[in-house]
């Protein structure tokens, strides 16, 4: 579901805009960068924030 929400937010942006996604370790962290790349988006960075929360920056 994390990638579903990510995809919906990305669809509202213009080309070149960036989206930051906060997500948890495990399935979301594995799937979101992979799915974003497969869909033709650019994953700029993946940072560990704290505990099991990570932040991904995606460029449309």
């Amino acid at each position: 579901m994390t990638f579903v929400k990510t995809k919906i937010e990305l669809s509202k942006l213009q080309s070149g805009d960036k989206l930051e996604v906060l997500l948890t370790e495990g399935e979301p962290l594995e799937n979101v960068p992979k799915s974003a790349t497969e869909q033709g988006f650019k994953v700029l960075e993946v940072i560990h924030i704290k505990d099991n929360i990570h932040k991904i920056t995606i460029e449309k």
Partner: protein
Amino acid sequence: MSTSNKKKLSIICFSGDFDKLVAAFTLATGSAAVNYEVNIFFTFWGLNAIKKKKGRSFTGKGALAKTFGFLMGGVNNVPLSRLNFLGASPKLMTFLMRKRNVATLKELIDAAIALNVNLYACEMSMHILGITIDDFIPEIKEVLGVTNFLQHSEGGDRIFI
């Protein structure tokens, strides 16, 4: 059964149970998010999930159909398929889902609409209950029978929930 590599998924949503609707919409939105063409064909109990009136109302044609319509209700009344506890369980489940940051049924339906999942209603069930397309949410694309559903779902996978 799929006979080609086209990424298409068609879900026959027969069930009007809360948990099964969550499963249907999770599959639909997850697939749509990775660019599948997704169709959901709502039939029989599944029609409850797409009614415009989300609570219980006397929808339909004729006294018996209206009574059925009232008892079946809308998406706000869908029961859990087991352990419904007189309607408490869907509310408890929704509370748990929110608490664990999992999408609720309403959020899943909104996401399906946002991701352009094709939503269809079954002509036969509608005919029995005297419901028209105006009784459904405006996002319902078309009313279909089996033949047209088979055409729309050709070349993809079909599953029954």
